[in-house]
């Protein structure tokens, strides 16, 4: 194995493209190092991206924020602007691991590791976040939803690296929330999770919604029917029941000792309902 700390994104992309063997990008390393040690991956080349200028910066852009791919969870959690605009995204990222893991883990690493249970991902999908990608063919933007391709897999081509995540601007009465279920209170893998982002009209009715579910399918789900179920409502009981039902209908989870299919499916609906209520309150809707 060779280790190279790339000085630019283009250099990193070039190194990855030219590597005939197995290559891996290193961000926080909290997934990659565990995989290296267990022998799950044996890369010929590891390209550290943390020294690329700007890749650890959070920058305001068009009323939203551009977050460098190597910004750690701890750094993101300390950013008051991002926390105020997208609290649901930040709370998902802050659920990842312990204080020590937070010091290193990145949300892009969480996304690119490809776990269906990645805690950063549903919040980003609900937020309609996009990533900026540098690759051999130049630069492109892509919705976060289109990056996962199934457990451990992404749609990124050889040589492509994500350099930043963009969280867009949002109107005044809008907010989001993320909830997950784990058997413990800390340091565990989600059994089901939900991210909900809402915009409210002046009268408090929901004017736009995005509902994303984690850990209940081979990759994150954006559930359009769940959004439809609550748009126009003020989260009355009927709308919440329809939301949960739409979420349950979308689930296609695994069955294992941590959660049966029935349990994961029910829980996803319950979490979506609760996350919607939290997002609604944060957006200024009263209930």
């Amino acid at each position: 194995m060779r280790y190279i700390a790339a000085k630019t994104a283009d250099e990193a992309a070039g190194l990855l493209v030219d590597e005939p063997g197995l290559a891996r990008i290193l961000a926080g390393g909290t997934d990659l190092l565990v995989q290296l040690k267990s022998g799950l991956v044996e890369p010929d080349l590891v390209v550290d991206i943390k020294n690329i200028p700007g890749i650890r910066d959070v920058t305001p852009e068009n009323g939203g924020f551009r977050i460098g791919a190597a910004v750690s969870a701890a750094e993101l959690g300390e950013h008051k602007g991002v926390l105020a605009l997208w609290p649901g995204v930040v709370e998902g990222v802050e659920l990842i691991g312990s204080t020590q893991v937070q010091g290193r883990a990145t949300m892009v690493g969480n996304l690119c590791n490809g776990s269906p249970a990645g805690d950063a991902v549903p919040g980003l999908v609900a937020a309609n976040a996009t990533v900026r990608i540098t690759g051999p063919g130049g630069s492109r933007d892509c919705p976060v939803l289109d990056i996962p391709a199934g457990p451990g897999k992404t749609t990124l081509a050889k040589g492509e690296i994500i350099t930043s995540v963009f969280l867009p601007a949002r109107p005044e009465n809008a907010s989001d929330a993320y909830l997950r279920f784990i058997p413990r209170t800390e340091m565990d893998i989600g059994v089901a999770s939900a991210g909900v982002s809402l915009e409210l009209a002046a009268d408090g009715a929901i004017s736009a919604a995005r509902v994303a579910l984690g850990a209940v399918a081979p990759k994150v789900l954006l559930v359009a029917d769940a959004a439809t179920a609550i748009v126009g409502s003020k989260l009355e009981d009927g709308a919440l029941a329809a939301l949960a039902k739409a979420c349950e209908a979308a689930c296609n989870p695994i069955d294992d000792k941590r959660g049966t299919i029935e349990f994961r499916t029910r829980t996803a609906g319950v979490l979506a309902r609760r996350a919607a209520l939290i997002a609604y309150q944060r957006a200024g809707g009263s209930k």
């Binding site: 290193l26 909290t30 565990v34 800390e186």
Partner: protein, 158 residues
């Protein structure tokens, strides 16, 4: 595997070492720099026995490559006491009997110090959440939490 030459700072002192690309910072500290205070409990980020700070951030040194230490500032448990004078956290861990075998203790001390630097008066639940990534198999957590609290109180009064 080609060796890498790394120049870094450990506990305020310049340090240099040679390591292989797959060697972790924990391995480097213990095997190349002779700093065996940081322990390996799991090697996978779960136990916190290897806790150090890198550029002021608390991390698991078992999940950092030695090569990543280039140009960084590292602090370890060995940098905690000043000469013979123990850090208040160290003293209170002894006085409160907050350790038995001691394997988890260096990591917990390094983590608790990082907590008190940003929050001098943490609540019980803030301490428990902050230390959730530090596992202890013998002492029981109450004594550890109490030791952190009494050290914090002493540090606030100074």
């Amino acid at each position: 595997m080609k060796s890498i030459h790394v120049t870094t700072t450990v506990n305020g002192e310049p340090a240099e070492f040679i390591c292989t690309p797959d060697e972790t910072l924990l391995d480097v500290l213990r095997n190349r720099l002779g700093l065996t205070g940081s322990k390996e409990g799991c090697g996978t980020g779960d136990c916190g026995a290897c806790s150090v700070t890198v550029n002021g951030r608390l991390v698991c040194s078992c999940l950092v490559l030695g090569a990543e230490a280039e140009g960084a500032e590292i602090t370890t448990i060995e940098g905690m006491a000043s000469g013979e004078a123990l850090h208040p956290l160290q003293r209170h861990f002894i006085e409160s009997a907050a350790l038995q075998c001691g394997i988890c203790t260096p990591g917990i001390l390094v983590a608790a110090k990082a907590l008190l630097e940003q929050n001098p008066d943490p609540s019980d639940s803030e301490i428990r959440y902050w230390l959730a990534g530090n596992l202890c198999r013998c002492t029981g957590y109450d004594k550890i939490i109490n030791a952190v609290k009494s050290a914090a109180a002493e540090m606030r009064s100074n």
